[in-house]
Amino acid sequence: MTNEIIKNRLTEKFGEHLSGWEEPFGLLTVNVAASMNLKVLQFLFDDEQLRFRFMTDLTGVHFPERKGEELCVVYHLHNMVDGIRLRLKAYVPVEKPDIFTATKLYSTANWMERETYDFFGINFIGHPNLVRILNVDDMDYFPMRKEYEMEDPTRRDKDDEMFGRG
């Protein structure tokens, strides 16, 4: 099993919904259309050749400068039989951050999706219990989004440029 085989198999099946193939540090990465995430996951789970039946990780990332696709859901899947990993990314707009839940496929996605909802506000459609998990229940914002600053905004020594950005 190599990255090439996975890529060909996925392209054959979902060609037009996949884009941005990359291999950072050997880990095959692909962007999947948000509406197709569950179909792709289901295929990866069921396919006798691919067998990605272990979800290692699920998390979110906020890219405020990517207009129309600000929030990203990142899945790390693992085929334990062949010892190969795959990273899937699905981008959703911050105004309507809807994506299908993977809980029915991987029970482990339950809490990880709750965590992602808690911190990024991504709405996992069909999730059995999409409520906050680590933060207090009455919190009314999503703290991991980039607009919420870590530091006191009046401090000049903690500006972005001090951290090599902007």
Binding site: F25, T59, F163
Partner: protein
């Protein structure tokens, strides 16, 4: 006076629903002597049987992922200490290895073997705590006092290497802060010599102990299929019979050079988890012995390797020795530059995982070329497998639920990050 109290009529109005209810709601935690950490389980119990349980997590959530977005890479290391604080060196080194992967550093063999020694020592410390606490929860306090002496010895080695014990902040990007002292090597040797005797005694007290076996066998089982679906990793998955170990599946830090077995269980109950952890401690001890032999061989062959404790290529990431920082101007400037994160890391996206005390500890790092992570996510094994807990205890006895919790080795720091 006491008569009055006993004869006082209660006028508490209970809702119709709770008057009709045949089961009892029990709050196990957040602070309860049997939970060993801040865990809350709201249980519905029928006599001694657990009907339903619902966990509440997040009591010690400290927003590490958010904090890490404003911390230069070295300042993230102390945050990782506080994830699984029973084996913090593994967390520290996992994080350093993630940065090394991003920077593309290759470490000398001696450094990697030294790391292996420290990581295996902390695995032993982690498993010792877990297994002795399982024994405490079944009513056997003595083994706990035996093993804690040896956890202490491990902490003394850490102290000798890095200066701290529990939250170690051990090592640097590219290796260690200083070479292992003579005293630390001596302590390591004395540990390797004395540990087997204690371990055998510990096993004699528990492994075939009728009371212990009756309490543990069949308590809190999980099948391999469900465990995989729940994302179990580490000893808990291996107890269910899946031989997945990151050290073997994706070797890091030269684990491929070592010869060791992966112990597996069959039904994934408390006893299996206990036995898997015990066997893993023996394997860890054998890895440590192999590492010492390998280091001695390297040193005999290349005497100049004795002073290699970090990768030469990581020079610009290596904090100068403290005595130089206080006496030499360049060293002081360099120290300041590194600690304040004046050295940029390349842009990139890395996922690196190590076999932590509880399973696959992953670091998902997105760097945009700045001095801090753009996004850092910890794949915390405890958080992921704790959601399988209700399935394991529902239908069982309440006392089984308690030993299941301790045998899962859920660490509050890692659970809540």
């Amino acid at each position: 006076m006491s008569d009055q109290i006993t004869h006082t009529q209660h006028h508490i109005k209970l809702s119709e629903e709770s008057l009709q209810k045949q089961t009892t709601t029990l709050n196990l935690g957040p602070t309860h002597p049997a939970t060993h950490g801040v865990f809350q389980n709201i249980m519905e119990i029928d006599g001694e049987r657990v009907i339903k349980t619902e966990q509440t997590v997040g009591y010690i959530h400290r927003a590490f992922e958010k904090i890490a977005e404003r911390r230069p890479y070295y300042q993230v290391t102390p945050l990782t200490d506080r994830l699984n604080y029973c084996s913090s060196p593994i967390n520290n080194m996992g994080w350093h290895m993630t940065i090394e992967k991003l920077l593309g550093l290759k470490l000398p063999k001696r450094v990697e073997y030294l790391r292996v020694i420290i990581m295996e020592l902390s695995r032993i410390a982690d498993h010792l705590v877990c297994n002795s606490v399982v024994a405490v929860d079944t009513g056997a306090l003595t083994p706990f006092t035996y093993v804690f002496q040896f956890r202490e010895k491990i902490y003394e080695i850490f102290e000798e290497v890095c200066g701290s014990r529990l939250t170690t902040n051990i090592g640097r990007v590219g290796g260690f802060e200083r070479n292992f002292s003579v005293a630390s090597i001596e302590k390591l040797h004395s540990f390797v010599e004395t540990f087997p005797k204690m371990m055998k005694e510990f096993e004699n007290l528990l492994n075939r102990n009728r009371i212990f076996m009756d309490r543990c066998i069949g308590a809190g089982p999980i099948s391999a299929e469900r465990a995989l679906n729940y994302g179990f990793t580490g000893p808990n998955l291996r107890a269910a019979g899946v031989d997945y170990d990151v050290r073997v599946a994706q070797p890091y830090s030269s684990y491929e050079d070592f010869d060791f077995k992966i112990p597996v269980g069959t039904v994934g109950d408390v006893y299996d988890r206990y036995m898997v952890r015990n066997d893993e401690m023996w394997e860890s001890l054998s890895i440590i012995k192999q590492a010492i032999t390998k280091i001695n061989k390297i040193e005999a062959e290349f005497p100049d390797q004795k002073n290699v404790f970090y990768a030469p290529e990581a020079d610009h990431f290596h904090i100068p020795p403290k005595q130089d920082v206080y006496t030499k101007m360049e060293a002081l400037i360099f120290h300041f530059k590194i600690i304040m994160g004046e050295i940029d890391a390349p842009a990139g996206e890395v996922y690196h995982s190590v076999e932590g005390g509880n399973g696959e500890l992953g670091f998902y790092l997105i760097s945009d070329g700045g001095r801090t992570p753009y996004r850092l996510h910890f794949r915390r094994p405890c958080f992921i497998y704790y959601q399988g807990y209700p399935e394991m205890v529902e239908g069982g006895l309440l006392s089984d639920a308690i030993i299941t919790l301790s045998s899962l080795n859920v660490i509050a720091g890692e659970l809540d990050a």
